[in-house]
Symmetry: C3
Subunit: 448 residues, 3 copies
């Protein structure tokens, strides 16, 4: 439970807010690279952290993210022409390059133009591309750190699939949903003959732990349902937190689901073993009541095949089924096409799609969740630690410090995932066995 003031601090990221200052010290995913498909392609509108921009890819392929306003008379550069290494205003032809420099003022004499250009520069964000994502940095370009070294961006392009989806609420509550594996036992459950079951059991004869025909990969779906009160342990590292949740498995073992939270708005999801595709999300505030959720799927060792790629692009797992503007088909306005008959017979929520279930419940907390009224319990430990970390970052930035991980790209080379281990194996051992050095960089390690 937070005070009203804390809730404001956590959720507001506009210019001049404490959390806005934190976000502006990190690289932010701004667009999918494919939204700017080639040199001189159409410019696109963009809003991040409550600020409006126009993004364009210039003739050399470089991405510019600039303020939308022509300094001459304030026309919007969205209507401009993307041509010959610059964006030209449609009103009187003033032209700006990807760094915001004014490179042409054609409606005055050349000598006057030369004198005016320096005053006509517009704000531009520092940009980079990695992992098929356009990243933006709000600080001074000459002071920009390296882009965080996510594994999804380091693997070959064919090992990766990325996407995004719009969420119609504040970023923080949506992010908190990603740090709370406990809800999987409910929100994402199936229903079979009136009882909560794993999704794989919907419409089938229920199987138990004694069922020798149960494939190993389905056992964990059963454990998720059988133990709805996982026990949390949280480990700190140099870019965030490793949230470890233990559920009772078969034969005196525990089923561990381990989630990464990476400052200030990334999460690597649990639910995968070494052989599975890994998944991650970033929650990027559009404004204080909506955000983009960037979605990443990748495999360290093998390409993502056509069939899996097709499935992800149609909205499987953390990917939503979206329209051409990346707005989910099932969304707030249409109650996520909730089907009460489905809810009665097959699905805990009656909403189709894991992603859509997550989006519905986060939206349902309000445009900005009111955390002054909450009854937190032990499965909310990850959520609590996330908030603490964000408040520490806000306090640190206020005092001139670099927030956790902001200048430590390699601290983002971590992994998340699941493990099954004897019930008496210490969590640190479980983590080492599953991830090796990739569980997290020790807090005091120096970036080389």
């Amino acid at each position: 439970m937070l005070t009203a003031e804390q809730n404001e601090t956590l959720t507001r990221t506009g210019p001049g807010t404490p959390m806005g200052d934190v976000f502006r010290r990190y690289w932010m995913p701004a667009l999918l690279s494919r939204e700017l498909p080639g040199p001189d392609c159409p410019p696109v509108r963009l809003k991040i952290l409550g600020e409006d921009f126009i993004a364009f890819r210039d003739s050399t392929g470089r991405v510019g993210i600039v303020e939308p306003r022509c300094p001459h008379r304030g026309a919007n550069l969205f209507f401009g022409r993307n041509e010959a290494c610059g964006l030209r205003c449609a009103y009187h032809g003033w032209k700006f390059d990807a760094e915001g420099r004014c490179v042409d003022i054609p409606n005055v004499t050349p000598d006057v133009a030369e004198r005016m250009k320096p005053r006509a520069a517009i704000r531009a964000l520092h940009t980079a591309e990695a992992g098929d994502i356009v990243w933006a940095y709000f600080g001074q370009p000459d002071d920009a750190p390296a882009v965080p070294d996510f594994e999804f961006a380091a693997v070959p392009a064919e090992h990766r699939f990325v996407g995004k989806k719009r969420q119609q609420c504040n970023w923080a509550q949506a992010c908190e949903g990603g740090l709370d594996t406990a809800h999987f036992s409910y929100l994402h459950a199936g229903i079979n003959e009136g009882r909560k079951v794993g999704l794989h059991q919907v419409g089938r004869v229920p199987s138990g732990s004694g069922d020798t025909r149960e494939p190993p990969r389905l056992a964990r779906l059963r454990w998720l349902i059988e133990d709805g009160a996982p026990r949390f342990t949280v480990l700190d590292h140099a870019a965030g937190l490793l949230l470890c949740a233990a559920r009772t498995a078969d034969d005196d073992h525990l089923y561990w689901r381990m989630t990464q939270f990476l400052m200030p708005n990334h999460s690597l999801t649990p639910g995968n073993f070494s052989e599975d595709t890994a998944l991650a999300n970033t929650w990027v505030p559009i404004d204080d009541t909506s955000c983009w959720i960037f979605c990443y799927a990748w495999h360290p060792d093998r390409p993502i095949g056509d069939r899996e790629r097709e499935r992800l692009s149609r909205g499987a797992g953390i990917f939503a089924e979206v329209d051409d503007d990346y707005v989910p088909i099932r969304r707030r306005e249409n109650d996520y096409l909730l089907d009460r008959e489905l809810q009665r017979n097959a699905s805990f929520t009656g909403i189709a799609g894991i992603s859509e279930q997550d989006q519905a419940i986060a939206d349902s907390q309000g445009l900005i969740a009111d955390r002054t009224r909450e009854l937190l319990c032990q499965t909310d430990l990850g959520v609590v630690r996330f908030r603490d970390l964000m408040f520490e970052a806000a306090q640190g930035v206020r005092e001139g410090e670099t927030p956790l991980g902001a200048r430590n790209a390699r601290a983002y080379r971590v992994r998340s995932g699941d493990a099954v281990a004897p019930h008496d194996l210490a969590v640190e051992e479980v983590v080492r066995e599953r991830f090796g050095e990739r569980w997290g960089v020790r807090l005091n390690a120096q970036d080389p």
Copy 2:
């Protein structure tokens, strides 16, 4: 004419407002019973007096009306599962019964759950069902009075038809429309060859009082048009007011239309004689700029036949033609499908439907009518007395008194309707002859 402050007092019914405090001392129609058609049916959203709720019918058929917010992390219970005598939150499975008690917290250990449950109770309104209506009481359940004893609720179900319709303005101006029978001579008039006529005369050769073929039941429609300046007398009783309006009829008689206003937001309509179906309305604020109008039709002595029932359900008389969400087809956004050709040739307004005509003119007064600029005249006497009664109630509640009728269920056993009487018969005599004891319970009578 009111002061700006009085207008605020009359119209605002949210939590903590003077009139909101008055409304919260009475039972309110909350839903049609058929909106919750059976045990464990889908929950529905509900807003009354500016407050949001979720209504559900549990496995035993009991209706719960609870705050929408799960106390754990604030997810909305609309997305919950209505199962086994309770509503279960979709996020982590917390469960609440129809009285708002938390009956399950499955994501913690059982002992922790037992300790947390008392703190996890949510607000629930006291509910009752009568007359195919779900009623809600905002006060303490152990202090709830009896549900008002309306005749429509007392008759056998087959003698009754109920419905509702959304009105897109403040409740009070819509209610005032129901207390003002004078407008019937204009708003609901027909047009024949450019002249105002009764609706039955549209498109026919005009008939006069000398027309011996005129059926008695059509004479009153003629009188409504011929005398557009009725004289009002208002009688007080223990649940409200009987508003008696006299128009000149034939042969030295008066045509009386008598309307009941019952505290704080009910009206029994005029327009019926003993043999006719009786009609009534309740205006329930959704918020300060919209309300539900509940509509009741009943006959004391006979069932409502299939044909009449069909006619009412399609939107006859006080019933509107509505969509699946009870929103009128002809409404503010589409100017009530006003047909200027119809207005020229057949209808005073050009809007189809008595109900729609009423709704249009009330909406047209603004989202909240400005009563600081008015030129009231004698046909507004009912409106004036209604306002006085509401202000008295607000003053009384402020001083700790029970407002008129709030704990006097039997004072609602009244009737409204029409009479034709010699012009020199005193109004009290007209009333006694028409209604007997059912004109109203004397103000000082004690509830047995």
Copy 3:
């Protein structure tokens, strides 16, 4: 560049604002006459300068523009009946004439009605019709000046075509677009093989000044493109400004485009020679974030033929392609149907229609353009002088003076248009040769 306070002054025209006071000293185009097609036709809603009205044409053909509110109980007269020389309220039949006088109160006795009528008068604007336009004057009727003597209104009806279109931003920035002929070299340019060209050259083999086959009327389109930095001279006259912009033409000549700005919100466009149809606009604020642009086309000496009339009515030149409510088909909500392929290959903007290009760029400056951040240059001289004139008018009105032109109808008998002249001919000579006395009435001339 303006201060924030100046920007407010320039753009706000609601009741009680300085610029609102200026506008209320002039006649305003309120409707196209054809929007009230005949006696007793349906009344229409109307908003001007932030104030709501109902307009109707009475049985004698006279136009009334009255406040929408019935003084009795505040019902909206839009729902009223337009009948027998007055508008009758649909609620209780009160009736008002075109001057706002209450002429019937039928729901009280006749003697009471007579006493109430004087108190029941409603506000009515003074109205006139000229040039197929309904004009309104907000001041006292007995003090109304003559309607401005525009040429388009003085010519025979068959020499004229008028229309209107809705603009989704503040009036002043849209008006400024009309005073800035420099943008024609960019916003309205065509594209041919990646280069900016005149619209006539789109899709053709480029022609140059040496091309002997170039018709004279196309040369000016070429000059518009070849010289994108016209030099401005501004001349004052008794109703506003003549803005003269010179571009380099062929053979040591200058191509002059001369625009009239007429107080407080009219412009006669350049782009025409004597043989061409003349065009003009008025920007009438609806509220501070939208306006009607009235569009006038006329020829002094000849009728506008069926073909040209048809072309204008479908949205050519300054006329937009509009729907039945005069809202442009290509508008803010649909990004003016911007076609990026068209923008790449044929059109500087990718937006179809000169009018739509103008509307898009004005809207793009924001709902109200922020003039506290601007980098004005020499082509903005007309814009600067326009603002100065408006501020002078606001100051003058505050001090009790009659603003420029407000009582000088004949000062509006001016013309605009183009000329080609030797480069060393003084602008005053160019103006005299092209317009004679019709360039503008000298500032100190007395109205006869």
